[in-house]
C-alpha cells in the first residue's frame, strides 16, 4: 500500500490513527476532575501540535538528512503566514489558495536564501541563515510595515477587497477562513458521560495536511534522493571526489524544508488569520531546532514527537501554579511540603523555559538521538532482560 515498505506503512498508519483520534487520546481525563488540566484535547492546542509537527518534519528533511543546521527556518514560516493573510485579504477566505501561495512564496524565498547560504557549510551556514532570518525579521518589523503590518502584525480588515468573497459578512463582521463553506473554527462537542470530546474542522484539516506531509517525508527519506542527502551528511568531500556536485541536492532539500515551513505558516494563518514578525525571530528558529533534536533528528517520527512533546509540556507546565503544587503534595508533612514546592516552583509556570533548557541540554549530552533513541534503548534493554530470563544460567555455561 502507498508504495511503502512494511515498517514505514505501519508507522504511517499509526501516525494517521493517532492524529485522527487525537481528540479522544488527548482527553483521557473526565471534565471537571482534578486531572482535567492535563487534557490537551482542545482545538487550539491540537492545531499547534500538528502545525509544529509539519514544521519540524520539514526542518528534519534538511537537518536530519544533510546535517546542515539552519538557524533561520522560522523566517519561511513567517513569510508563509504573511502570504496566506494577504491571500485572505485580496482573494477570498478559502484556505486552499492561501496555503498554495504561502508554500510557493516560502519556496521562492528559500530558493534565494538557500542558493546563497549553501555556498558555505558548517557553522558558516548556520550564521548565514541566521543573518538572513534576522534581516527579514528586522525589515518586516520596520520598513516593510505597509506589507507586514509592522509591530501590530498583519490583520484582516472590513474594507479588504476579497475579490472572490465578501468583504464582510451580512452581519458586518470580518469573515472567517473556511474550506468551501466549512468554517475552520467550527467544532462540535461529543459528550460521553463526564467526558467531552471536541472535534474541530480546522484541526482535522491540519491533521490531513500533516499526514500527507508525513507520507511525503517517508517517500523522500526512502528515495534515492534521500540516500544522496544522507551521503552528503556522512562525507561530503568524498561525494565531491567522485565527481558529483552535491549542491543541487542540498539546495533541493533546503527548498523542500522551506516549503514545509511555509505550509506550516500558511496553516497557522488559516487557523487564526493574523501574522506577526515575531514568528520570524531567531528564537522561533531555535524552537524548531529544539523540537527536532529532542524528538530525534534524522528519524521519521522524531520531529513529530518532539513538536508534540514541547508544545504539550509548554502548555501544561505554564498552567501549573504554586496552589496546584501545594494540592499535589498535601499528603506530606507541612515543612516537607513547603520545601518541595519551593524547589519545584522555579520550574513551572513562567519557569517553563528553564525546564525546557535543562531538558534540552540533558538530551544533547546524554541522548544525542533524542526521544527515539531513548525508546530504542529501553526496548533493547527490555529484550536483553527477557532473553536473560529465558535462558537459565546453568545451561549456557560451556562444557568442560
Amino acid at each position: 500500500m502507498f508504495k511503502l515498505e512494511k515498517t514505514d506503512q505501519t508507522l504511517l498508519i499509526v501516525v494517521g490513527i493517532l492524529t485522527l483520534f487525537a481528540p479522544f487520546i488527548l482527553n483521557p481525563f473526565p471534565e471537571g476532575s482534578a486531572m482535567a488540566q492535563f487534557n490537551a484535547g482542545y482545538p487550539d492546542l491540537m492545531q499547534r501540535f500538528v502545525i509544529f509537527g509539519i514544521f519540524a518534519i520539514g526542518f528534519n528533511i534538511l537537518f536530519g538528512l544533510t546535517g546542515y543546521l539552519s538557524f533561520g527556518h522560522a523566517a519561511f514560516l513567517g513569510v508563509g503566514s504573511y502570504a496566506a493573510v494577504w491571500m485572505f485579504k485580496l482573494l477570498s477566505m478559502n484556505v486552499i489558495p492561501a496555503i498554495i501561495l504561502s508554500v510557493v512564496v516560502a519556496g521562492l524565498f528559500s530558493l534565494l536564501i538557500g542558493f546563497i547560504s549553501l555556498r558555505r557549510s558548517g557553522i558558516y551556514f548556520s550564521i548565514l541563515t541566521l543573518a538572513f532570518a534576522q534581516m527579514m525579521f528586522a525589515l518586516a518589523y520596520s520598513v516593510l510595515t505597509p506589507i507586514t503590518g509592522g509591530e501590530t502584525g498583519l490583520q484582516l480588515a472590513l474594507d479588504d477587497p476579497r475579490i472572490f468573497g465578501a468583504s464582510q459578512t451580512p452581519e458586518g463582521n470580518i469573515p472567517v477562513p473556511g474550506l468551501f463553506g466549512l468554517e475552520m473554527r467550527d467544532s462540535f462537542d461529543l459528550v460521553m458521560g463526564s467526558w467531552v470530546f471536541t472535534f474541530n474542522i480546522g484541526y482535522y484539516f491540519c491533521a490531513m495536511v500533516m499526514i500527507a506531509s508525513f507520507y511525503l517525508a517517508i517517500r523522500i527519506f526512502r528515495s534515492p534522493f534521500g540516500l544522496m542527502l544522507r551521503a552528503v551528511k556522512s562525507n561530503q568531500q568524498r561525494m565531491n571526489y567522485t565527481g558529483l556536485n552535491t549542491r543541487p541536492y542540498t539546495l533541493a532539500a533546503f527548498v523542500i524544508s522551506g516549503m514545509y515551513a511555509g505550509l506550516a505558516g500558511g496553516l497557522m494563518a488559516s487557523m487564526d488569520p493574523l501574522a506577526g514578525a515575531e514568528r520570524m525571530q531567531w528564537t522561533a528558529s531555535g524552537e524548531v531546532v529544539l523540537m527536532t533534536i529532542l524528538g530525534g533528528a534524522g528519524t521519521l517520527i522524531g520531529p513529530v514527537l518532539g513538536a508534540g512533546f514541547i508544545k504539550y509540556f509548554e502548555n501544561i507546565f505554564s498552567k501549573i501554579n504554586s496552589t496546584i503544587l501545594h494540592e499535589w503534595f498535601a499528603f506530606l508533612p507541612d515543612g516537607l511540603e513547603d520545601f518541595i514546592v519551593a524547589i519545584l516552583y522555579p520550574f513551572i509556570g513562567k519557569g517553563w523555559h528553564l525546564t525546557l533548557g535543562i531538558l534540552f541540554m540533558m538530551v544533547v549530552i546524554f541522548l544525542p538521538g533524542g526521544l527515539v533513541e531513548g525508546g530504542q534503548r529501553i526496548r533493547s534493554w527490555l529484550q536483553k532482560r527477557k532473553s536473560e530470563k529465558n535462558t537459565p544460567n546453568g545451561s549456557t555455561e560451556p562444557a568442560e
Binding site: 546535517g67 543546521l69 546563497i116 555556498r119 558555505r120 557549510s121 558548517g122 557553522i123 558558516y124 548556520s126 550564521i127 548565514l128 541566521l130 543573518a131 538572513f132 534576522q134 534581516m135 528586522a138 525589515l139 518589523y141 520596520s142 520598513v143 516593510l144 531567531w282 528564537t283 531555535g286 531546532v289 533534536i293 522555579p346 519557569g351 523555559h353 528553564l354 525546557l356 533548557g357 535543562i358 534540552f360 541540554m361 544533547v364 549530552i365 544525542p368
Partner: protein, 343 residues
Amino acid sequence: MDAIILQILNGLDKGSAYALIALGLTLIFGTLGVVNFAHGALFMIGAFCAVTLSRILTLSHTIIDETKTDFLGNPLKVDVPYVHDIFGVAAGNVIIDWAVPLAILFAIPVMIAVGVIMERGLIKHFYKRPHADQILVTFGLAIVLQEVIKYFYGANPIPTPAPEAFKGSFDFGAAVGFDPNLIIYPYWRIIYFFFATLIIGGVFAFLQFTTFGMVVRAGMADRETVGLLGINIDKRFTIMFGIAAAVAGLAGVMYTPINSPNYHMGMDFLVLSFVVVVVGGMGSLPGAVLAGFLLGVLESFASMREVIDIIPGINQIIIYLVAIIILLTRPRGLMGRKGVMED
C-alpha cells in the same frame, strides 16, 4: 563633517562592546575549538554582577529617627545602608555611587569562576563532538542561564546608573574646534571606549609578552605538539576560558549604565557578536577586534537620517548584509587564518 565625527564616536561604544564579546568568543574558539553560544549569557551575567553589587551595597536596616516625624506624627523610619555604618555617611554614599566601577573588581573573580566551572563541568565533554552538538548544548546552557537570572531578578530592565561624576556629556566639537554643542558625547561612553581598548590591549599583551601567553599561542597553533612537549595545555586552555568569560563579563559590567540590563540582553548581543566573529575571521583575534569596531561604526553610519532617506531600513540590516557579502567574497573573513574552520 561634524555629523561624520559624531557617527564615528557613536559607533565606537557599541563597537567596543562587539569587539570585547567577539574577542572572548574568538579566544574560546581559537584555544578550545568550541563554538560557544552561551557567550552572550556570560556578558549578561557580568552585567548582573554590577546589579548584584549595587544591591549588596545598598542593603540597609531600618532605624527610627526620633527628631523627625512623618505626616501622621509618628517618628520617621529611615533606611540606613550598612556601608554608612562601616565607612560613615559621606564615604558610604561615594561607595554606593561608584557601584558600577567597583563591580569590575567583584566581577573578575566571579566571571573567572563561572568560566572555569562551565569549561570543566560541561564544555570539556564536547571537544570531540561535532560543532553542531557544541552549538546546541551551549544554546541550551544560554537558555538556562538566562532563565535563572530572570527568576532571581525579574524580567524588567534594572537601571544601574554610572557614578555622578560621569553623568552629563562632553562637548567634543568645542574641544577640536567646531561650534559648541554640535558634537556632544556622554562621558560614560568615552570611558567605555577607553576601558575596552585597555582590556583588549591587556589581553593582547598577556598573550604576546608572557610565557603563559606564549604557551597558549603555541597551543592554538599546534595543540598536539605542545602536549607532547610535556606541557599541560588543557589546564592553560581552561584558564583562557576563564579569562574569555571575564572579558565578556567586564564588557557587561561597564555596559550597564549605557543600557539597563535585562535577562535577554545576552541573546541580543550574541547573534551580532557571532556575525562579528565570522566577519573578522574565525580564530583571528585582531580580526575580531577590527570587525567589532568596523561593524559598530558602520551601524551608526547607517542610522544617519541622510542614509536612511536613500535606503530605508538599512540601519536594521547593515551588519547582516555586510556579513553576507564578506562571507561570500572572502570566505575566511577579513583576517581569517588558512586552515581554521574551513569546512
